[in-house]
Structure formats: structure tokens, C-alpha cells
Symmetry: none
Subunit: 535 residues, 2 copies
């Protein structure tokens, strides 16, 4: 089935970058948004709502950079925005112009469909609101864009004034909107109510109906399915259920239920198996710790305390799981057994060019070590380079050593204004002592933070023995506090991404001391980079 056919038959519409970004504490840079868009495209969604160009400078910038940098294989970009202002022609409204000029092939127009919201929030008449919908859709259609309508507060509006709510949808359809997505903006609906309303809308308007749910009753996924059952063919949601208040419908749960439970193919063949990887990759970008209990993709979603059932699980695992976890790229885990671990270590080794299958003891040793380290907070899923160094160490009997650290120290200080230091601004200074290639180096580096200063000093010192280090650049630095509730005494995990122009690699460090954890990741990064160049 081609991507186009899928778009025709059923819309999977992601709004992580717009409605998901409304989540409290979530703050995405333009680069973050571009990175998430690539992941969403990798999942095969049909539409990616990128933001509100014109209303938000960051979103305007996103659409500009998307035109130049994004090469989407499956998805079309949608720009979100409002209908024209009251009393202004659509062509003269600068916010409508920003939608037109965004470069997005689809515009999703939010419109009021609840009479009281029109009067109180929009402060205009019901008639003018209909004209605003009609004019804006007509204008954008004439400019060649596809238009979807987001009918805000639709379900509450339908209860308050069914006729008017339907009138808004009809105005949009008549002006050429392709979809009217019914939004449960306040999130208070239950599945049977949603189903009844969608059925009525499909029958009354004859147009294509979409659904946009929030999770305030804990029913966002079920509400979405109920709408599809009643005839909706366009579902909106966000990765990991991000969103305001209790979040939006988790798009991956919705899609997995549609494909695996209801036998409706809504993503390009095979891409649902990327779901677990992508959900976690997006969580790395947002830096929101993923819930281990998340349906389908959570790390605990297929974890079994085997105990009593271990033998029955071996005979027939499907007696104890509702589906094959590989369908969403997840894996069954037996919490007491290391069987799952061994197999994945072998697989991972093969991926990195080590054939471990012949040596059971070696695999056991590596599996044990990984378990101990992950228990202490390390993660090797994200830090391939640190894992490869660990493999090399176990396979070859020793870690590759290009340099030997004697000691390091970093001072961060601030003070009253002086000729050297502006008032209140802190600077860091690091001293590293190490041996590389028979020579002892004592180097001091400065930086705007302790890790930056250590990085400078370390690379200056090693660069004298290995000039290729000059090409290495630290391209990403992430900190996560693992053990919350213990203040500054908690365990810290640092992930560092380094690039040499030709490729990049990620290393990990863990410890109570954020500086020490960073140091581990920094030295791993340089060691891995040197090994790449010296093989």
C-alpha cells in the first residue's frame, strides 16, 4: 500500500510539536522540533503539525528551516493557525498570511464551535464566526493549500447548541475543508458520548470527520477509538501522550490498537515496529523521563515477574502477553531471568562486528556487567560508544588506552567585579595531568562551566600526542537526575555526543558528582574517537 493510498484512506495526524509542546515544563528549541519531525516521519505518520507560524517566532523559524532541512518520506507538514480576525478580510490578516507563506501543504485552522466561546473569548457574533471560518478556508484553498478544521470545544459546544456546532462544520466543508476534526478541548468526554456525537456528525454533515482527544478522564485513547468506530477517519494525537494538563491521546497507543487489535492498517507496512525506539528517542529530545508503564512502548510493558509461570511462559508465551511485543519493537522481559539479556547482547555484539555466539562464558560475563552497570544508572541503549568500549575490553582483555590520567581539578568561582571577572559571573578553570605517548602533560583550560573547562584542558593535553583530536567536537551534552527526591545528593547520568565530521558517537558517565560523571563520558568519548582513527 503506498503512502498516498494511506493518506486517502485514513489520516494519522501528529500534533506533538504543537499541542504536545503545551505540556507544562516542556520547552522545545527549533532544532529539537526538527529532530522530532524526523522521528515522526520515521514512524510513518501522515501529517506532522509543526506549530503556529506567525503567532510564535520559534514556529515561524521552524517552518523556514523545515523547508530547507527536512526531507520527509512519509509525512506532510501542517501549519496550525486561527481563522481570520473579526471584521478583517482573510487576505488582509497577517496571521492568515503567515499560514499561507509557511510552505506547509496543509493548514489546520482552529475555529470556535461552542457558541459561548464565540461570544466570550472571541467577542464576536455567531454569524461573524461562521463568516470567519468560510472566508479563511476559501482564501487558503484558493491559494492551493489543503485545509483541515480543528473545531475547538466541539463536544461541549454540541451539548450547548448542537445546531450551531454543526453549522460551523458545514461552513468549513462548504468552503472546501477536507476534514473537520472534533476537539474535546477540555477533555471531559467518555467513549460512549464521543461515539454518539461522531455518529451524528458523520450522518448530519456527510463530511470527513477527525478526532482530537485529551486525557482528562483517562479515556483519550478509548475516546479516539470510539470515534473511529463511529466513522472518524482522521486521528490526532501526540507521541508519549504529551500535552496540556493530562496530555493528548497517545498516538502510538491509538495506532497500535488500530493496527494490532482492530486490523486497520494506518501506517506504512512495517513501521509500527519502530514505535518503541521512536517513543524513546523523542523522550530523549524532550528530556521528559518516559513512563516505564506506558502502553506498548514502556520498558515494563512486557516485563513479567516470571516466578510461578516461568515454565508455562516457555511453553507458550502468548498465554501471558496480549500480543507479540516485536510488533511495536518492544521485547518481553523476564524480570528474574537473564535469557532476554543474553540474546540482546549477542545481537548487539553482531551489530558492532563482534561474533559472540561461540563463547557462552563471555556473553554471560558481559551480560552480568551490563546488568550491574545499568542497575547503577548507566544506559547503553543510548550510549553505543561506551558499550562498544566495554565489549572491546571484555573481548580483548583490556580497554584501549591512548592516555593515562594522573589527576584533574576544576575550579568554578565568582566574586565582586574586577578587571578579570564581571560582577556575579562565574568562570571555570580546569587542570588536567596525564601521560600520552610517554610524555607527561599538565594543561589548564578555561571555560564557561566546569565540564566545558575540563573538555578544553583534556583535548589540549591529548591533542599534543594525537593531533586528530582537534577534529573531535562535542555536539550534545545531556544531564539527567536519576534518583529524584534526594536533592543534590542524587545520582546523575551524563550523555555526551561527539562528532569528528565523518560520524558521531555517544558516551555515558554516571555518579553522584555531575562533574565526575561528565569526566567519565568525556574520556570515553576521546578514547572511542581515537580507536576509530587508529583501527
Amino acid at each position: 500500500m503506498s503512502t498516498l493510498d494511506l493518506h486517502g484512506a485514513f489520516h494519522v495526524y501528529d500534533t506533538t510539536l504543537r499541542d504536545g509542546a503545551q505540556q507544562e515544563g516542556l520547552n522545545l528549541s527549533v532544532t529539537d522540533k526538527l529532530s522530532i519531525a524526523r522521528h515522526l516521519d520515521g514512524l510513518g505518520v501522515g501529517y506532522i503539525e509543526g506549530g503556529w507560524p506567525g503567532a510564535n517566532p520559534k514556529d515561524t523559524e521552524f517552518f523556514r528551516r523545515a523547508r530547507e532541512e527536512l526531507d520527509l518520506r512519509h509525512a506532510e507538514l501542517a501549519a496550525f493557525g486561527a481563522t481570520r480576525r473579526a471584521g478583517v478580510a482573510a487576505a488582509d490578516d497577517p496571521l492568515v498570511a503567515a499560514l499561507r507563506d509557511s510552505g506547509a501543504s496543509v493548514v489546520t485552522l482552529v475555529a470556535k464551535s461552542h457558541d459561548r466561546h464565540v461570544e466570550l473569548a472571541l467577542r464576536t457574533t455567531l454569524e461573524e464566526n461562521l463568516a470567519m471560518v468560510r472566508d479563511t478556508v476559501t482564501h487558503l484553498r484558493a491559494e492551493g493549500q489543503t485545509v483541515f478544521l480543528d473545531a475547538e470545544h466541539f463536544f461541549d459546544g454540541y451539548r450547548a447548541n448542537r445546531d450551531y456546532a454543526l453549522e460551523v462544520l458545514r461552513a468549513a466543508f462548504e468552503a472546501g475543508a477536507e476534514v473537520a476534526a472534533l476537539c474535546d478541548t477540555n477533555g471531559g468526554m467518555l467513549p460512549s458520548w464521543v461515539g454518539d456525537v461522531v455518529l451524528d456528525v458523520v450522518e448530519s454533515t456527510g463530511g470527513r470527520v477527525g478526532i482530537h482527544c485529551h486525557n482528562d478522564t483517562g479515556c483519550a485513547v478509548a475516546n479516539t477509538l470510539s470515534a473511529v468506530d463511529a466513522g472518524a477517519t482522521h486521528v490526532q494525537g501526540t507521541v508519549n501522550g504529551y500535552g496540556e494538563r493530562t496530555g493528548n491521546a497517545d498516538l502510538i497507543s491509538v495506532v497500535a490498537n488500530l493496527e494490532l487489535k482492530l486490523d486497520r492498517q494506518v501506517l506504512p507496512q512495517g513501521l509500527l515496529a519502530e514505535a518503541t525506539r521512536i517513543a524513546h528517542a523523542v523522550a530523549e529530545v524532550t528530556n521528559v523521563a518516559p513512563s516505564s508503564r506506558q502502553p506498548y512502548v514502556g520498558t515494563s510493558a512486557f516485563a513479567h515477574k516470571a516466578g510461578l509461570h516461568a515454565s508455562a511462559i516457555k511453553v507458550d508465551p502468548n498465554l501471558y502477553q496480549h500480543m507479540d511485543p516485536l510488533g511495536v519493537g518492544n521485547d518481553m522481559r523476564l524480570l528474574v531471568s537473564d535469557m532476554a539479556g543474553r540474546a540482546s547482547i549477542e545481537l548487539k555484539g553482531r551489530e558492532l562486528g563482534f561474533d559472540l555466539s561461540g563463547d557462552r562464558d563471555l556473553v554471560t560475563r558481559i551480560t552480568e556487567r551490563v546488568k550491574v552497570l545499568e542497575n547503577r544508572g548507566y544506559t547503553f541503549e543510548a550510549a553505543d560508544a561506551s558499550f562498544e568500549l566495554l565489549l572491546v575490553e571484555e573481548v580483548e582483555g583490556h580497554r584501549p588506552t591512548y592516555f593515562e590520567v594522573e589527576s584533574w581539578r576544576v575550579i568554578t568561582e565568582t566574586g565582586p567585579a574586577s578587571s578579570l571577572l564581571p560582577a556575579g559571573e562565574a568562570v571555570s578553570e580546569a587542570t588536567v595531568k596525564l601521560r600520552a605517548g610517554e610524555v607527561r602533560y599538565v594543561v589548564t583550560g578555561e571555560g564557561n562551566g566546569p565540564v566545558n573547562a575540563l573538555d578544553q584542558a583534556l583535548r589540549q593535553a591529548i591533542g599534543q600526542a594525537y593531533p586528530e583530536v582537534a577534529k573531535f567536537e562535542l555536539t550534545d551534552y545531556k544531564v539527567r537526575i536519576l534518583d529524584q527526591g534526594h536533592g543534590t545528593d542524587a545520582i546523575t547520568r551524563v550523555l555526551i555526543e561527539t562528532s569528528d565530521g565523518a560520524g558521531s558517537w555517544v558516551t555515558v558517565g554516571v555518579g553522584h558528582n555531575v562533574v565526575e560523571a561528565s569526566w567519565q563520558a568525556l574520556t570515553d568519548a576521546i578514547t572511542f574517537g581515537l580507536r576509530r582513527h587508529h583501527r
Copy 2:
């Protein structure tokens, strides 16, 4: 309505202490379980499943101590256990005896209702399994206990062999079981499927039907409601949705939906308003960080990024929330975000006790300052205390000052093993120079990281002038790299939560230097705490 009437009409059955405790990483002591039981009773649930006495020494101990220590006002205790073993009389089975002797007025017997599970996991015949159900129920009823049946894997079993699955329920009802709870043990069901099966069971057996759902499809709450709609009058679930894999149905969401959305009173009058407090109190006991997005009780569940809608929210808050948050003991919160307009700053000010409505210039100044700061990476959404200090500064013309920092310095170092320092382990030492109450202090503190050391030194110094600082405790520390893709040169945001036993507050710091950002948040935290005590 009396508690007994409620039990008769509808059972709210909590299994946090038994099925909830199966959650990966959750580990409850007997004291923890007693404490959670008291909270559950405070919520007014009808039944508290305490565990499996006899199978698990901790649970045996729980029932023993519960008899002596628990004084339940609303709930009855239920002991969970299995039907007798194959080929043994119920009276002679030591595990059945443990249920009988537990002191619990209710026994919930788990029984296989899926033919293949009987054969593969239980390794007995279908006929013997029926006898096991019949005998065990009969025996415990004769001993004076109320018996509920948990029909394990019921929905899968019904699909595989409807007649046998129903036969198991009939055997239980005929022997005197009061409820047969249908368990979606693998969690793969969707609401419409659950509804159809429950309807058939109610019609075919005439007995009282219960429902026990897991969240593997993200539909546990909706599945439970669908069962109730089809005639179930007994709902099982756990607080905060704890449980194996993706967890059980969140009992508070279920109950809130039943009472607030479906007008069925299922808890004693007024107790649902305790839900938020109790959900958080239970999370304190389990030490599982609560999800801010949790329906009804999450800290974000009624949080609004006011922006555009602030003026309409002022007129009618119910336009923007699906219910009054006080109904579950939660509260509407307005977030101060970079979209924030003047109206939301005014509202927020009122929340914090400042009437800003009379002074347009002041509101403009604060709005502008918030925008500038949020653009630089600050977030006041999470950091109410830092926002309050900013408000005070603008309203009163100056920031509250209890101390004046002259300078600070922190050294983190490692080196070869010595008598002072184990090999490779880093320590941090901070020196802070400040004036407080006319006295100059120079204090050095040590810590396992730079921020920890600064916190120690800062509090030692200020504590000499303000002894109440000794009560302040740093309870959470979060670091986020805001501008990814720039390595260690990126902007860092630090959020610190501090508690004084009576309350807690969050402060924020931002900068290139993680240590400097932490320092800002630390000093704000102490300033805010001192202001609380000196007002």
C-alpha cells in the same frame, strides 16, 4: 447513604496492596502497606485487598498486624489466594487454611477460567478445576467468610472456550460466591469487547459481576466503565494505576468518572474530594514519583497556559475545565509561560496574594520581565517561588535581602589514590564569603558534587545568622540542557525544590555554567524560605 448501603449497591475494590505491588521496582514493607490501607480507608473504598497470606510471609504478617493495628471506618479487608490444589480437600490445603485464618472477612479466590491455562499452567483437568472452585468456595463460606472469585484470564478464556469460562463462574456462584470478577489479566481488551462479554455474562449467569482491568491497550479506565455500563457492579483497581507491566485501572479515575461524569455515587459522600491528597500521600509511601499528567489528581491536571484565554477564564473558568477541580481536591493553576499576557500575570498575582489590577504600568513591567527571562531559559511555570520573589521585587521596589554574597568558589578534583582520596573518585569543596546581619562569614563546605558542596557552605554561613535555615532541606534537584546541539557550551536550567517540613517551594536558575545556575536557584530558595518565616 450509609456505608453498608454503598457496599450493597456497588463495590469499590482496591488491589493496590496486592496487584499494584506487582509493579516493577515497587517494594512495600508491612508498615508501608498498613499506611496505604489507612489512606485507602480515608478515600472510602469498600474493600482493601491486602495480599496473599500463606504464600508470602510479608502478607501473612500484614494480616496479623492489620487485626491489631488497623481501625477501618469504611473498608473491609480482603485476603487474596488460590483455589485448593488439585487432588486435595479444601480443608486440608494449608494455603486455603491461611486464607481462612487471615482474619479477613472477605476472601478473593483466583481461579483459572481459560481452558488452556488450566491444562498448561495448572496441569489438571477442566473437570477438576471446576471442583477446585466449588470446593474452596463452599469450604470458606461454611467458615463464615464472604467469597469473591477472580476469574483469571477470563476474556481470553471466553474467546477460546465460552462455555467453559461461563461454567467456572457458575460453579463459583452455585457454591455461594458473591461476586465473579472478570479479569483481563493480559490487558489486551478494548471497551466494546469488554462490554459485550460482560453483558453476556450478566445475562447467562444471573450473578453479580465484577471487573479487573490492566492498561496494556491504554484503555483500563474505559474498559472498566464499559463493564459497568454493561451491568458490572464491582470495580477493581489500584491507586495511581500501579501494577504489573502497564499497570492496573487507576481506581481514582474510575471512581471520579463514575461519580462526576455518570452520576453514580460509589464512595461515601464527600470523600472523593480527598482523592488528590490521598493519591499523593500513597505516592510518598511507594516512593514512585507521581505523574504530573495523571487524570484528576496530577499537579498539571488543571494547569492552564493562560495566554490568549486568560480574559475568558476570568469571566467563566468552567469554559476551560471539564469539571470543578475541588471535586477531587485538586486546584486550577495558571502557568506563567512565555505566551503569558497581562491578564494571566494579574491572575497569578492574585493567587499569590498581590492585587495588581490597579496598576497597569506595574503589570506591563512584570509581563515584559517574565518574557525576557523566559526567553533566556527561565521558566516560572514550575518555579513559583522565584516568580513570587520577582513579583515582590517589582511591587516593593527591591528584592528581599537577608544576606549579601561577596564571592564563592568551588573546587572539584580527583587524583591518584591517597590517604585522603580513593582512586578516581572526585570530591568537591566550596568556599562562600557573605555578609548576613552585619557579620561577615567565610565558610567552607564539602560535598560529593559541586552543588552539594555549595549548598552545605551556603547554609552553614547563613544558618549562623538565621538558625531557621537548618530546617530547610533540598528535596529535589533537576537539570535540563535547554539549547541542545551546542555541547557543554549550552544553556543550563536548574530547578530546585526546598522544604521546611511545613511546605515546599521551587526556584529556578539559568546560565551557561551549571554551577552558577544552581547557585542562583539555591540562593533564591533560601531567600524565599526566610521570607516565609519572617512575614
